[in-house]
């Protein structure tokens, strides 16, 4: 049981290092166990070192850096053993344009073997999607869903009134 855990842990750690290197453009990160002899009696620690910086407690990272590290962790697990589907609500909220674009492209790659639904207001994210559903209301408190053809975003030209981020 412990061996199985360690095998999974090392595999996910391998993904974590690789994915973080890509998303942070040369940064380094890894996950560590408190206790390799008895993993179930300890926790799992995340270390992340963005490029040009010293390793610090992850609490000291910026909002965008924390989001990137969280997303890396989720994707490292997905790469090892995908859940059947993912529903991600505004996970790109803190990201600057460069990071949002990298996350968008990586989500697109991962979605080739997993169904991913992302709620987002960011053009960088919407641009990568295979399809876009627009949710809107007509002043009566009732939600309606329109597909991208209807909101004419065949070329992902998202109308500024709806999103414009």
């Amino acid at each position: 049981k412990k061996n199985r855990f360690l095998q999974v842990f090392y595999e996910i750690n391998k993904n974590f290092k690789e994915i973080y290197g890509i998303l942070s453009s040369g940064g380094e990160a890894e996950i560590l166990l408190d206790n390799y002899e008895d993993p179930f009696n300890g926790g799992l620690i995340i270390k992340a070192k963005p490029i040009g910086k010293k390793v610090q407690r992850i609490e000291a990272l910026s909002g965008g850096e924390k989001s990137l590290t969280s997303l890396t962790f989720i994707m490292s697990i997905q790469k090892y053993l995908p859940s059947p589907f993912y529903v991600l609500d505004e996970v790109d909220m803190f990201l600057d344009a460069v990071s949002a674009e990298r996350i968008g492209k990586m989500i697109k790659r991962l979605s080739e073997n997993t169904q991913i639904v992302m709620i987002s207001l960011r053009k960088a994210t919407l641009r990568e999607a295979d399809r876009i559903y627009g949710v809107t209301q007509q002043g009566d408190g009732i939600s309606m869903i329109i597909s991208k053809d209807i909101i004419s975003i065949k070329d992902h030209e998202i109308p500024d009134t709806a999103i414009g981020k």
């Binding site: 989001s67 962790f73 059947p84 697109k108 987002s120 919407l126 559903y133 949710v135 209301q137 939600s143």
Partner: protein
């Protein structure tokens, strides 16, 4: 395995019967503030058996029933259905399609009362049965496959033991 379709009727801001087809790959959902995007993810969490109402931004489960908006009367019941493609038999039921439906209905006599029912392929099941079936299919919300609005940094903020448990459930 993937979600083929979701149906919502009178769930939060979705008044009429709304059908959302889902396909493989990468689907984005967008729209103005307050339009109902997060309500869609609430519907998914609800139909997969979410027990408390707080994660759904509701004080009690009956808050999930369409309240009428500005101009109409509130509805008396809400229902969400999700249809999975199950050709890979990840759900241990011998059917290519699995439809899970959860309903919540106000009690006619008791203003605070309600009844909540769960059906798999139109057969009523207990809440516990649903949990077991979904756990065995690894359709649970423990590996951060469902991330709600504002929660993305929580992977960083949860305790190290809780984070390790995520790996436990995978191994």
């Amino acid at each position: 395995m993937y979600i083929k379709m979701m149906k919502m009727e009178n769930f939060k801001s979705f008044h009429k019967k709304t059908v959302i087809p889902f396909e493989k790959g990468f689907t984005a959902v967008t729209g103005p503030n307050g339009s109902g995007k997060s309500n869609i993810s609430d519907a998914i969490i609800f139909v997969l058996g979410q027990k408390g109402s707080r994660a759904l931004r509701a004080q009690k489960l009956t808050d999930l029933i369409f309240n009428g908006g500005a101009n109409r009367d509130p509805a008396t019941h809400a229902s969400v259905s999700i249809v999975f493609d199950n050709k890979s038999r990840e759900i241990a039921i011998d059917s290519d399609e699995i439809e899970i439906t959860r309903t919540i209905r106000l009690s006619p006599n008791n203003p605070d009362g309600y009844s909540s029912n769960i059906y798999i392929n139109n057969k009523k099941v207990s809440h516990t049965d649903l949990e077991t079936i979904l756990d065995n299919a690894r359709i649970n919300m423990d590996s951060f496959n469902i991330v709600q609005q504002g929660d993305i940094t929580s992977v960083i903020e949860i305790g190290s033991k809780e984070r390790r448990k995520i790996i436990d459930t995978i191994s």
